[in-house]
Amino acid sequence: MIELNNLERSYKTGHTETWVLRRIKLSIREGEFVTIMGPSGAGKSSLLNVLAMLDDQWRGEFLFSGVAVQALSRKQRAELARQKIGMVFQSYHLLDDLTVAENIDLPLSYKNIPKSERQALVADTLDRFNIVGKKDLYPSQLSGGQQQLVGIARAVIHRPSLLLADEPTGNLQSAQAKEIMELFRQLNQEGATIVQVTHSEVNAGYGTRTIELRDGWVSSDSAEAGAGRQEVQS
């Protein structure tokens, strides 16, 4: 589903160039539940942003379901992401002045979907996540776990083939975190490809594969037996 080949990302500050991703070579198949781990500043979130197509300032090759992302225009990338990718954030990123139902509807509102169809999809999703009773509440009226539930519901309402999660339980208590991770497992079992970024070994245990990043390099990948730091020549 995803092929990354020699993907690099850097930030320029004045005359200094700081590398956050170095020659990433990676392949993720459909149905995988991948965990990306590593210390702070290793490049985990940067990689996730590239996969989410929120960032287009990288170099290298990125194939998504056979489509060469690097050859797409900004608009085409945004359209591809809109159709195929869902994103879950550590701090939920729900919009304060929208209700639960309106937050879930948000991704659909940016697609050409008739309102009646959108309402039906929102109703289905609320039902699926057992939050029908909370549909008219605002985010500030929900617990952290409930907010993340809404965040996940929003991410999957348009049935994306790839679900990306950036520290999805980082702000939750362990019981709530467990519930959320169980939900991810269920979604994966239903066919969603999931890539999560986490510091938690427990959360990583829910995945089927773990990739570790250090200083922008892929330092280990459980899918490659005996894989160590890839040798590179700069």
Binding site: S45, N49, A52, L54, D55, K75, A78, A81, R82, M87, F89, S91, H93, L94, L95, D96, D97, L106, P107, Y110, K111, R154, A155, H158
Partner: protein
């Protein structure tokens, strides 16, 4: 004290670090306060400044209390005489003509001056409480019919014409060719509204042709101990006696119309009554501009306070008391107020200078006590008071209001908490208020401007381009005869025709857009009981061709229409419609002013009388050569004679025209030399002034609203970076983000527009009252020139929407260019 100084230093540093905020706040204050200061200065000078007379608060004007209730002092000769004889509330009372007369003045050296004189009763100047600088004022003997011709000179005329001769008392001077003896000179400090150059005795008498019309004004000084209310009560009791003694006044009013009563007003209110409504409306407009500026400032300060919540929280966490934080914010507000107020004085001086240039009348002619000099310190004091007041109320209070929230929560986690809903609401309410006020000002400006343009587009009835006018006053005994007047007119016309570049020349008494003789007239076949009011104007052959008024039927006046020939007349279309219902009047006879029947030999197109806005009055044109002596004396006494000169090129012929006049009679000075277009412009000067002022303030309001909207949306975009990032992360395109921000700006504007439309409809009455004051119509009906309210609203709404889209576009584009990865990382 040390703490205050530290706050000042810190506040200055903070303001320096936020140049965009500081500049916007100072500019907002400068525009709002500057406009308010300028207009308040004029209003206070005209409406509040006392008249320059001793105990002026005991001076009153006595006149008819009209339905419009504007203070006035108009009287007929009869009522003035009656009141002088019957009132007891006044220590003294005086009567004067209600307008100045154009006169020719000379000291017999062949260098005549065109001056303005006022005829006053012997008690008029003493009633005002003024004494002459040299000589004496008029006595009762001077004021009797047949008294010796005497004059009191103004300080200006004494200096200008008599070289400040201290021995001038008793010296003869020439007024309209007659010899007058100078009996006094008024001091430099003495001025009346529309100050004359010379005073002469009124000699009020039934023999005066104007005695029976409201051609006089009456001033009085209350007796010691008598109140204004007592004087009013006395006048009220005298009113029935006036109607009993002069029952014909009842005929002036339609049956069922309440008869006006005699009334007294403070003289200052009478003097400024014409300008009062207009000036107060202008003040209201400028207060609205100030309010827009205040709302703008409130929005800016609230946004800034929000941005400083973390700093304030930190200060309080470190032990600062709420009062010390408020003091810091107050110091910053006061610094802004001081900077804004100083800049406002500059703006105010600019606006005052502009008002002086474009104002149709001088300030001192509205109130002789007003000073036209810009009082710098007074302005600065006013600007500072307004600046500090508005900054503290509209700037500091909203900011302090934010401190009531638990600001220490802003420190928790270091994450942006987003905009509190109450603050968002406040920002929106402030913006909507600004748009509504701007809409009201813009629609009022559009209505005034539209009406002015309507006035300008009314055809005058003459071809004003390349038409010059030489006006002269033919007064005194020598021009009381028709023959002498005709001789001078012929002489001057001959001289004018010799000037290179002059194509045609004619003369008229009663120039278009000037006053004509209001007189009774009727078709000769009807009885005297059918007499109706018409205007009589007197012309020489070739007049209509020269001014470009088309001859529609019959023939023009010719040189053969002499004094001893058959009396003829031309009439205008309005008269044909009124008297002959559109049928040809050629060959019919008319009787004007009870004179001989005159045969109608031609019909000419309508041209406007006193103003462009007025309905065109039925007019009879008579040949100058056939005017009798009595009528000639009357019209020469009241109106100037105008020579109309059609020129071929652009070069001025003023000097040559003056020479031609001098050669015809060296004692007659040029009263006025101007283009016909300037006469046209003069009639629309007042509506033009108010249109430009209202338009200017509306543009101020539009500018401030644009700045406010830009600031609010920019601030909101800044506060909503996270939201925009999330929206883009879940699929929003950049175009959709651009539209989202634009829509917010437009939505706020639309709500403001809706409220503004309701306000504008209410405001229309005020605008119409300004126009009624400034566009003089005989009927008082403005409907023919009033611009469409709907179109004015449409223009105002279109301007505001365009400004909104422009002001919203930059913040919207900035929002659309936000990188979602950056936005989410910031979180």
């Amino acid at each position: 004290m040390n703490g205050w100084m530290q706050d000042v230093r810190y506040a200055l540093r903070q303001l320096r670090r936020s140049p965009a905020f500081t500049l916007t706040a100072v500019l907002t204050l400068a525009l709002g306060i500057g406009a308010t200061t300028a207009v308040y200065h004029v209003v206070s000078q005209v409406l509040l400044q006392p008249l320059p007379y001793p105990a002026q608060e005991r001076l009153v004007g006595v006149g008819w209390e009209s339905a419009a209730e504007n203070p006035e002092a108009e009287q007929t000769g009869e009522t003035a005489d009656f009141l002088l004889a019957h009132t007891t509330s006044f220590a003294s009372a005086g009567v004067a003509d209600d307008s100045l007369l154009g006169e020719n003045f000379s000291i017999g050296d062949g260098k005549p001056l065109s001056i303005r004189s006022l005829r006053v009763s012997a008690s008029y100047l003493p009633t005002l409480g003024v004494a002459p600088m040299l000589g004496r004022l008029f006595t009762a003997e001077d004021d009797h019919v047949g008294g010796a011709p005497v004059a009191v000179l103004s300080y200006g005329l004494w200096k200008r014409a008599l070289n400040a001769d201290v021995g001038v008392v008793g010296r003869p001077v020439h007024v309209n060719g007659d010899v007058f003896t100078v009996i006094g000179v008024m001091p430099e400090s003495f001025a009346t509204a529309d100050s004359p150059d010379l005073w002469q005795p009124l000699r009020l008498s039934p023999a005066d042709p104007g005695y029976y019309g409201t051609n006089f004004m009456m001033v009085a000084r209350l007796k010691p101990g008598a109140s204004l209310e007592q004087a009013r009560a006395e006048l009220k009791t005298l009113t029935p006696e006036i109607y009993a003694q002069f029952p014909h006044y009842k005929k002036w009013y339609a049956l069922g119309h309440a008869l006006p009563e005699q009334h007294a007003w403070l003289l200052r209110d009478v003097v400024v009554s014409d300008a009062r409504n207009s000036l107060l409306s202008l003040m209201a407009a400028v207060v609205m501009v100030l309010l827009v500026a205040c709302l703008n400032l409130a929005g800016l300060m609230t946004a800034r306070a929000l941005g400083r919540q973390r700093e304030v929280a930190l200060r309080m966490a470190l032990g600062a008391r709420r009062s010390s934080v408020i003091r810091l914010l107050m110091v910053e507000s006061l610094l802004l107020a001081a900077a804004g107020s100083v800049a406002a004085v500059g703006v105010a001086r600019g606006i005052r200078a502009l008002m002086t240039v474009i104002s149709p009348v001088a300030q001192s002619s509205l109130n002789p006590g007003a000073s036209s000099a810009a009082d710098l310190w007074g302005m600065l004091g006013f600007a500072l008071a307004i600046g500090c007041g508005t900054t503290l109320v509209f700037g500091l209070l909203p900011a302090v209001g934010l401190l009531r929230h638990n600001v220490t929560s802003a420190l928790a986690g270091g994450q942006a908490a987003g905009t509190p809903v109450s603050t968002q609401k406040m920002g929106r309410v402030l913006m909507i208020g600004q748009v509504a006020l701007a809409m009201m000002l813009l629609s009022a400006g559009a209505l005034l401007l539209g009406t002015f343009l309507n006035l300008r587009s009314i055809p005058t009835g003459v071809e004003a381009k390349r038409l010059d006018v030489l006006q002269v006053n033919l007064k005194g005994d020598q021009y009381a005869s028709a023959a002498k007047t005709a001789q001078l007119i012929d002489h001057v016309q001959d001289g004018l025709r010799q000037i290179p570049g002059v194509a045609q020349v004619a003369a008229v008494n009663g120039l278009p857009l000037d006053r004509g003789l209001n007189i009774s007239g009727r078709p000769a076949k009807d009885g005297p009981e059918t007499d109706r009011s018409v205007e009589a104007r007197f012309v020489t052959p070739g007049y209509f061709h020269t001014v470009g008024t088309p001859l529609l039927m019959g023939r023009d006046i010719t040189a053969s229409d002499r004094a001893n020939g058959a009396p003829v007349a031309l009439v205008n279309e309005a008269l044909v419609q009124k008297w002959w219902h559109g049928q040809s009047p050629l060959g019919e006879f008319v009787i004007v002013g009870g004179g001989q029947p005159q045969q109608v030999v031609g019909v000419v197109a309508d041209s406007h009388g006193r103003t462009l806005a007025d309905v065109i009055r039925p007019t009879v044109y008579e040949p100058f050569a056939q005017v009798d002596d009595g009528t000639m004396k009357m019209i020469n006494g009241w109106f100037p004679t105008s020579f109309v000169i059609r020129v071929a090129g652009e070069a001025s012929v003023a000097a040559e025209a003056a020479r031609a006049l001098h050669e015809a009679d060296p004692e007659v000075p040029v009263g006025k030399f101007a283009t016909m277009q300037s006469f046209v412009d003069e009639t629309v000067a007042a509506p033009r002034f108010f249109a430009w002022m209202a338009g200017g303030f509306a543009v101020f309001a539009l500018l401030l609203t644009g700045v406010g909207l830009f600031g609010l949306l920019s601030y909101q975009v800044g506060m909503r970076t996270r939201e925009i990032g999330v929206r883009m992360a879940v699929g929003a395109g950049r175009g959709q983000i651009l539209l989202l921000v634009l829509q917010r700006g437009v939505a706020l504007t639309m709500i403001g527009l809706a409220i503004g439309v309701v306000g504008s409809v209410a405001l229309r009455r005020v605008v119409v009252s300004v126009l009624t004051d400034t566009v003089h119509t005989h009927s008082g009906n403005l409907s023919s020139v009033l611009a469409s309210g709907a179109i004015a609203l449409a223009y105002a709404a279109a301007c505001l929407l365009a400004a909104t889209i422009m002001a919203s576009y930059l913040p919207a584009r900035r929002a659309a260019s936000i990188e979602p990865t950056q936005a989410l990382r910031a979180e």
